[in-house]
Each structure stands twice: as structure tokens, then as C-alpha cells.
Amino acid sequence: MAASGNQEVTLLGVRLSPFVIRVGIALNIKEVQYEFLEEILSAKSELLLKSNPVYKKVPVLIHDGKPICESMIIVQYIDDVWTRSGTTLMPTDPYQKAMHRFWTVYLDDKFEPSLYNLTMSQTEAAKAEAEEQTMAVLQLLEEAFVKMSNKGKPFFGGDTIGYLDIAIGSYLGWMRATEEIIGLKLLDDARIPLLCAWAENFCNNEAVRNVSPEIMKIVEYAKFLRSKYTPPPAK
């Protein structure tokens, strides 16, 4: 969502990146007006290189001239700065906070690489291995949802979208695209019914819809990546 002329909050990113989508969702939930600057990753802007000299990656949030990097650190920052009631992303209880943080770490550690491997897989063996790893993560998240959603609430955060919802939900577009390209079902009602219901609630939320790319655009881009992909050497 771009608001012309407002320089206070700028998001450097690429529209298809789940990590960038996370920040967009958080800003939308908080109803923060911001300017989106699309980066070309093969020709990074001076602003990006200056704002994230350590990693030179997106997303970067620039607020009042000061850059914040790393998607979930940015999400926490947004939650700390814009504290309108009804929009808190992190629970107040320290143990619940720890659970949101733990599953986010686990997700980025295990799910991201296995989903990537699945999207790129070009042999039956590679596909089978990546599918198994991906489903294993989703199964664990299904169990975590029971514990965290506080008996029948729609989100990991309870009644409203929270930190972990944003972390996982940002991958939904790529999951759908992968289902399309590889020809399998990840969001399978029979295996992970709660996550499927959660996904529908998440995607129907206006804050999310506004920054969710069309699945076909992700499919197109993923096919391009697949054409250039070389699998890592066997260990």
C-alpha cells in the first residue's frame, strides 16, 4: 500500500518475498501509511546497500531515517512502536511470547529450506524427500496450533492475527504456487485440517489480502528460478 508523499515510513522490498510480505502485513494491521520501494535484487539500490550493509537484503524498514533489518525483528519493532489497542501482535504473557518466537525460529530454520527444495525439485526422489520434510513441519505446526490458539480461536495469536500467524502466513502464497507447479497438496484438509481453516481465515483478512501477490505471479517466478536451479552436490 503506497501513500504518496509520506516519507516517514519506507519499506524496501520485493513484492513476492515472504519476508517482505510479513512486514507489509504488520504495517497494514497497524494501519501505518508507508512507501514501498521495489528493489531489483540483481541491481541493489544505494539506499538498500546503505541501510543494510551487513546482509544487503530485503526487507528493510526505514522509519524516521533509521533502518531496521530482518523481517521478524522488523515485525517486533512495528508492534513496539505502533501500539493501537486491538492490534497487538505479541501476547503479553512471557511464556506465550516465547512460544511465538520458538515456532518462528523453527519455521525459518526448517520450513523455508524444505519448501524451497520442494519448489525446486526436479526428480521424483528430490520431490519425495522435500515433501516429507515439509509435511513434517506442517504436522508439528498443526499440533502447536491446538496449544496456542486457546481453544477454537481462529489464529495462533487468538482472536486476532499475531506474530506467529504473520511468520507462517507469509509463506502461504509460495505454498499454493508450489502445489500448482509440483502437483501435490500441502494444505491438505485430511492431514492438517486446523491449519487449513487457519489459512483461510488468514488469507481473508484485509491486511493480508492487500500485500498478497497473485499466485500466478509467484508460479511464473518460481518456474524461472527452477530453470536456473542446480541441485547441491550429493553429500
Partner: protein, 221 residues
């Protein structure tokens, strides 16, 4: 798992990640039971408390387990918030602290592992990378007393345990950390004056012996 009141830490003596938790608990003056774990034969308690990763450290507070060292440190900071705050209250400073602690997490241990696990050109590359990492952290410290500024904080807790491994990195990589990052070495000495760090420190030569054991175990020539 019994819902016992109290704090238990499942840990392994040489782990820099475990030491983060020990330092944070000491800074807050929290009484806890330390349970040294046998990582070759993991206890039922560890497997039940951290079924996802089966790793230490695990903090068990009133029967509820918290895993991942930086998550544990944040949890300790939030529960025992009346004393020695580790994270700053300003959101931007907080974000910076999280960023640099995460940087230590992403970079130091992995690079250090490559230093002892690899030989020849690959080891040389790891050494070059370690020097870059240390110099970047040194630049971040600048002329501050601690990474947290005047007060010992989150990034200090995240990074100081690795100083026990500096001797091993230097010996295996054949370089001097003091020569490449002298301000960092001064910061280490300042941290060691704090009781929380002094109480949890262990002999770098013992760490080096442990690295030797790891090298044998992994068949490193």
C-alpha cells in the same frame, strides 16, 4: 512433566548457548537448579522438554520448558523484569540489540565450527571470515563500555560466552584476536569483571581440549 515450582536449566558445560542462559539468570539473581546433560545419551527430561530439537539449553520454569538460548534470555528478561534489564526500552535500540544478537547467532558459532572442522584452504577461508565477523562486531561496539552502552545488555550476553572459544579459534586458525580486534578484547576483560560472567566462565584450555575431542570424533586430520 510434573508442574514443579522453580527454575531448572538443562545445559552442557561447554555450550556458549547454555552460558547465555546462566549469565542472564545470574544477572537477575534467580535461584535455579543446574542439570548437566549427557548429550551422547539424552535424558528423558531433555527429550520431553525439547522434543523438536532435543538440544540444550532448555529452561524449565514452573514445569514449562523454554528452548533456544536467545528466546530463553528474552524470557528471563521479561519474567524477572524488576532487575538488570537486558533489552533497552526504546523500540529502535531494542531492534538493534536483536539484530546484533541474531548476527552473533548466525555467524560466530558456524564459522568457528568450520575453523576446527576443516583443513587447508577451507580452514583459511573460515579464519578470514572469523576475522571479518570480529571486526564488524568491534566496529559495532565502538567506544562504548558494552554493546548495550553503559549497561551490560542483550548483545553482551549473546556474545561474551564465545570468548571461552577464542583461544581455540586463535590456536587452530593461527591468528591473534587481540591483533585484529583489540577493543573487543578490552570489552571481554570488562565483562569478565561482572560476577555473572566470572561465575559462569570456564578455562579456555579445557574448551580447546574439548575441541580436540570433537576433531577426533569427526575424523579431522
Amino acid at each position: 512433566m510434573a508442574s514443579e515450582k522453580g527454575v531448572t536449566l538443562l545445559d552442557f558445560w561447554v555450550s556458549p548457548f547454555g552460558q547465555r542462559a546462566r549469565i542472564a539468570l545470574a544477572e537477575k539473581g534467580v535461584h535455579y537448579e543446574y542439570k548437566e546433560q549427557n548429550l551422547a545419551e539424552k535424558s528423558d527430561l531433555l527429550l520431553k522438554s525439547n522434543p523438536v530439537y532435543k538440544k540444550i539449553p532448555v529452561l524449565i520454569h514452573d514445569g514449562k520448558p523454554v528452548c533456544e538460548s536467545l528466546i530463553i534470555v528474552q524470557y528471563i528478561d521479561e519474567v524477572w523484569s524488576d532487575k538488570s534489564p537486558l533489552l533497552p526500552s526504546d523500540p529502535y535500540q531494542k531492534a538493534q540489540a536483536r539484530f546484533w544478537a541474531d548476527f552473533v547467532d548466525k555467524k560466530v558459532f558456524d564459522c568457528g565450527t568450520r575453523l576446527w572442522k576443516l583443513k587447508g584452504e577451507e580452514q583459511e577461508a573460515a579464519k578470514k571470515e572469523m576475522i571479518e565477523i570480529l571486526q564488524l562486531l568491534e566496529a559495532q561496539l565502538g567506544d562504548k563500555k558494552y554493546f548495550g552502552g553503559d549497561t551490560f545488555g542483550y548483545v553482551d550476553v549473546a556474545f561474551i560466552p564465545f570468548n571461552n572459544w577464542f583461544y581455540s579459534y586463535e590456536t587452530l586458525g593461527n591468528f591473534s584476536i587481540e591483533a585484529v580486534a583489540p577493543t573487543l578484547v578490552e570489552w571481554v576483560e570488562r565483562c569478565k569483571e561482572r560476577e555473572s560472567v566470572a561465575k559462569t566462565i570456564y578455562d579456555p584450555k579445557k574448551v580447546y581440549e574439548f575441541v580436540g575431542y570433537l576433531q577426533k570424533k569427526f575424523g579431522v586430520a
